[in-house]
């Protein structure tokens, strides 16, 4: 194996053999001696007072160990931490007034909220006993509509708050009034980002085991952030962090919904301590739709002041963001504000984002978390501007791009972009998609359609996105060269399907001269990994990888010292080349890492070199980083049904240098599937009474392979100055670019019929109606 080529090589994922042969161990696979099972009594009402809870019948059922209403646990824990489900890495705070206990005690604020737990000797008995619990519910008026939630006469969720508004994010910079007064045109558009569900393949799951060596707990949980989870549990259970070991074993997807600690984590931890038995709970898909946090859920009103040539001189924006019943991650809509201007130089903006409570499942992080919303709005708006002015959408984009010479560039909403070359990405995307050819084909199809021929309408959509990632506050890695020269890496990030272990092994192979096949990357266990944050916000490589590079550098330096001793050279003269530690300029005097490791753990070291060959290090990102790219979507619409088929899809993503191209491609493929699905399929729907209408996969549409075309992927590479690898992030990028690209394509297909905007998801009926309206108005 040629070591020097591992970075950038198309290697197969180290994770796949175990995952695709079913050998991975997930939380639900754990079987501990004496383990019992928990099921939860959940609210059927979106808003209600909890009256008397009659547990007698449940308790009498054979096999039931305990039935626990919330009041029984008041002494066991604090209310749930607030804000633990965000992107930025925090275990949450308990200081805000509108928290609730893991098992609610007096009031529920969304359907699916937990009011009692059942512990039983089998999951079957636990579920049966849940049905035996009788709760005296007193329903309260519920508020579901986010725009009505802010009105003074709306039913209020928290008596201690003056309204349902959690907070308003505001920014008013530049001469907005002047820009609007002098605009050639004011372009207005209302747009919505519908509520989405995470639908990770593996739902949530928890096993909690009392640990008598620490008077604490071991908690296996399907999480993206074991250390944050440990912090939240410690805080909530009034324990010390060293009493709790959190393990995220194999985790089957997260997409942001598994960042924070959930009521079920806290409830199982508390109950396991009290009852001194291991407990397990595995989420059902119905519970997932009801009680796992949702994403997006915003409505926006945009106004742009525009010059006749398409130059945008100011934005006036009012967004309502639905954060659901509790502030699990209330600051995510703020990220929409921070990414508001996208890739464009817009000198003035007046923005208000009102984050409101409603009687719905809390809204928290979901792939992109605040940034896809911003990209969707601005990329739709640019297309509306182009349509209103009769300009090509590519030209309007180029008219407004932040030019490469302007970086680092501080936007009007005070976001500092590190690097970018937006026109290069767009031009490449237009080239690889044969944009001119597509436009010519579109003209042909429109003429044929007008002549009554049975052709599908062709739509071409583009999006040029930028996103924010690489959140801190830090990440960690430890690297240990074992005595035989194999390498064990412990990372603070917590991959849950991404394959980051493969990427990390590629880095270690090159930068330490280790055999890629002999590198094991471990993660997801607070007892063995250095203090970390987890995997979220496209940060794993940019922050975790940077920490790894630092730890590897320390080990390499130590290895060089050992090599220098053995080769009788000065440490500064040892260089790592082609996987060998050799004396500079003397290629035949060299040692392998295996030879160095063997000596590093022997008693044959000079006094000035300590034994061992391992190091831990941390990386604190100095600034956030901003990947970008350009996508072109081509769709076909069947005029008589409104059905959309994605004909082809082209991406040019710039995540900086690519360590593991196969994994980047995988992230882009999955991201596209989810972003396209937001544009076309997915939506969590509540009725006006707060009942979930999309409560199963029979109604909630996740994308499937036959919904998607083969993707054409390309790239540009613009390194960031903010980490040693120059890497940005790719986990969320494709999701962010694809929702507006597809929507723009669908609207473009219908533009000649007078359609200016359609809200997502673009169900066939919505498109059919637009076509019908056009027919009727003719």
């Amino acid at each position: 194996m040629a070591y020097a080529t591992m970075i950038g090589a198309k290697v197969r994922r180290k994770e796949d053999p175990r995952l695709i042969t079913g050998s991975g161990t997930y939380v639900g696979d754990l079987k501990l001696p004496g383990m019992q099972h928990v099921a939860f009594v959940r609210s059927p009402y979106p808003h209600a007072t909890i009256g008397h809870i009659d547990i007698s019948a449940a308790l009498a059922r054979p096999g039931v160990t305990a039935v626990v209403p919330g009041r029984d646990l008041l002494d066991a824990y604090e209310p749930l931490p607030i804000g633990s489900g965000g992107e930025g890495g925090t275990s949450g705070s308990v200081s805000r007034p509108h928290s609730h206990y893991a098992i609610s005690i007096d009031r529920v604020r969304h359907t699916g909220e937990i009011v009692a737990a059942v512990i039983a000797t089998s999951p079957e008995v636990a579920v049966d006993a849940v049905a035996d619990v009788i709760v005296d519910w007193q329903p309260l008026p519920a508020i579901v509509d986010m725009e009505q939630a802010a009105s003074p006469d709306a039913p209020r969720l928290f008596d201690s708050l003056p309204s349902n508004v959690d907070h308003v994010w505001e920014c008013n910079v530049g001469d907005v009034a002047g820009a609007f007064a002098s605009a050639d045109r004011i372009v207005k558009q209302r747009m919505a980002n519908q509520r989405l569900a995470g639908v990770s393949m593996e739902g949530r799951a928890v096993v909690a085991l009392p640990d008598y060596t620490t008077d604490g707990l071991t908690v296996w949980t399907s999480t993206q952030a074991p250390h944050l989870s440990r912090g939240s549990l410690a805080k909530t259970l009034r324990m010390h962090e060293n009493q709790i070991r959190v393990i995220a074993p194999e985790v089957g997807g997260g997409f942001g919904i598994k960042i924070g600690v959930y009521p079920e984590d806290v409830a199982l931890a508390a109950l396991a301590r009290i009852h001194r038995i291991p407990l397990r709970w595995v989420e059902t898909r119905v519970e997932h739709m009801l009680a796992t946090t949702h994403g997006r859920a915003q409505i926006a009103e945009y106004e742009a002041a525009v010059k006749a040539d398409g130059t945008i001189t100011a934005l006036r924006v009012r967004i309502t963001a639905d954060i659901g019943a509790y502030p699990v991650a209330p600051d995510i809509p703020d990220l929409t504000g921070k990414m508001l201007v996208g890739v464009y130089h817009i000198p003035a903006a007046d923005v208000q984002i009102s984050c409101v409570f409603t009687n719905t499942t809390p809204v928290a992080a979901y792939r992109g978390a605040g940034r896809p919303e911003a990209a969707y709005y601005i990329e739709r708006l640019v297309d509306v501007i182009a349509a209103d002015l009769g300009l090509d959408p590519a030209d309007v984009r180029r008219r407004n791009f932040i030019p490469p010479a302007a970086f680092p560039y501080r936007t009007v909403v005070d976001t500092l972009y590190d690097s970018g070359e937006y026109d290069r990405a767009l031009s490449k995307a237009l080239m690889i998609s044969d944009y001119a050819g597509l436009r010519a084909e579109q003209v042909r199809r429109r003429a044929a359609h007008a002549a009554g021929e049975p052709v599908s309408l062709l739509g071409i959509g583009m999006a040029t996105y930028v996103e924010m990632c690489g959140f801190g506050p830090y990440e960690s890695a430890s690297v240990r060269v074992e005595p035989t020269g194999t390498v064990t890496v412990m990372t603070g990030i917590s991959p849950h399907g991404q394959g980051t272990g493969t990427t990390f092994a590629q880095i270690v192979a090159d930068q330490l001269g280790a055999d890629f096949e002999q590198i094991i990357v471990k993660h997801g266990d607070t007892a063995t990994t250095p203090m970390g944050q987890g995997t979220m916000g496209s940060r794993s490589l940019a922050v975790g990888g940077a920490a790894l590079v630092r730890a590897v550098a320390k080990v390499r330096e130590k290895a060089s010292r050992v090599a220098a001793h053995l080769l009788e050279a000065a440490p500064d003269d040892i260089v790592l080349e082609a996987g060998r530690y050799q004396v500079r300029g003397v290629p035949d005097r060299h040692l392998s890492l295996i030879e160095i490791a063997d000596r590093a753990y022997s008693d044959d070291l000079p006094d000035d070199i300590d034994p061992g060959l391992e190091a831990v290090d941390f990386f604190k990102p100095p600034e956030l980083i901003y990947p970008f790219g350009a996508h072109v979507a081509v769709v076909e619409i069947e005029p008589d049904t409104g059905q959309v088929r994605v004909h082809s899809y082209f991406t040019v993503d710039d995540c900086g240098p690519r360590i593991s191209p196969v994994i980047v491609a995988g992230q882009v493929h999955g991201g596209l599937a989810q972003g396209i699905a937001q544009a076309l399929f997915e939506e969590v729907v509540y009725d006006s009474n707060g009942q979930l209408l999309s409560g199963s996969l029979m109604d909630y549409t996740i994308p499937r392979a036959d919904d998607l075309p083969n993707f054409t992927l390309d790239k540009t590479e613009t390194p960031t100055p903010h980490n040693p690898l120059g890497v940005k992030g790719i986990g969320e990028a494709a999701t962010i670019g694809s929702t507006p690209a597809i929507t723009n394509a669908v609207v473009d297909a219908l533009a000649h019929l007078g359609v200016r905007h359609l809200d997502i998801p673009l169900r066939s009926e919505r498109i059919w109606r637009a076509l019908q309206n056009r027919k009727e108005s003719q």
Binding site: V127, V286, T641, L693, M698, D699, R763, E765, W768
Partner: protein, 288 residues
């Protein structure tokens, strides 16, 4: 997602299954492929005390192709879709079942189970109606045949008695001058029919339409024949104008259901679109 507890029986014969039904009455449910029943049990929408698993009854298996095609009620979708005689004698049936669910569903789901369950969005009821097929059922008093037109009573309800077991599904083997097709707008999430239209036509020697049967599923509470659309077709030359007339006449006298994916209005319009497609395809096959 755990069903409530139930007693389980796996009879070896239809007679034994009928006797178990007699014995347990309303408590009992027949389990065939289970792909509708098991999800309902897991969601606890259905909590029968007794399940009678008929999947091991040999006499319910098998497919026989003669002047008509007789399919054991326990035949799976996969068995029907892969059967050469069905493919050549009644291609529409094979095409209908081979797009149901996914491979796992098709390996378990049965034609008899789907028809007895009468899900309003299932595909097979429309095809059975259009083909003028029938089901055979065995009860304590013996066997009887129920024509497709008499089978579907209302949502999830058929003319079967509670103590009857479907034993056989019979459809015609189509000959020269006959053609049938099924055309479907898939529900994006469930892949059931938002609207599914099955059409059958028989041409006279002069090429005019001698007979037509058109049935719609998915749009309303049960699968239904479209007599006005059929009337528009019969006696016509089967040309574009006749197809358009049939499509225009389809779906007017039906009850509709709407959901978050498709309103009643949309389904009404789609019945016409898919009637046009199914009839055009059926005519083209009849002429081949």
């Amino acid at each position: 997602m755990i069903p409530a507890s139930f007693a389980y029986h796996a009879p070896q014969s239809v007679a034994e299954a009928v006797s178990l039904l007699e014995q347990h009455g309303d408590e009992a449910k027949i389990l065939a492929g289970g792909h509708s029943l098991l999800p309902a049990l897991k969601l606890r929408l259905s909590q029968p005390g007794v399940l009678i698993d008929i999947s091991r009854i040999g006499e319910l298996q098998g497919i026989h192709v003669g002047s008509s095609i007789e399919i054991g009620a326990g035949a799976t979708y996969a068995a029907v879709a892969g059967h050469a005689g069905v493919r050549s004698g009644c291609a529409v049936l094979a095409e209908c079942v081979e797009q149901i669910g996914d491979i796992q569903v098709r390996n378990r789901g049965t034609v008899g189970g789907a028809l007895a369950h009468a899900d309003p969005a299932a595909d097979l009821p429309a095809v059975l109606l259009a083909l003028g097929g029938s089901v055979s059922a065995q009860g304590p008093g013996g066997s009887r045949t129920i024509a497709a037109d008499d089978l579907f009573v209302e949502m999830l309800t058929t003319a079967l008695e509670p103590n009857e077991v479907v034993t056989k599904v019979t459809v015609p083997a189509l000959g020269k001058g006959e053609g049938a097709a099924y055309s479907k707008l898939k529900h994006p999430a469930s892949r059931y029919a938002i609207v599914g239209v099955a059409a059958y036509v028989k041409l006279a020697a002069d090429g005019s339409v001698a007979a037509a049967r058109i049935a719609v599923t998915g749009a309303g509470p049960k699968a239904e024949r479209q007599s006005a659309a059929e009337a528009a077709l019969v006696g016509s030359a089967g040309d574009d104008a006749a197809v358009a007339a049939a499509a225009a006449a389809a779906g007017d006298d039906m009850e509709y259901l709407g959901d978050i994916h498709a309103s009643e209005d949309y389904r009404r319009a789609m019945v016409k679109v898919y009637t046009r497609r199914a009839v055009a395809a059926a005519l083209s096959r009849a002429r081949a």
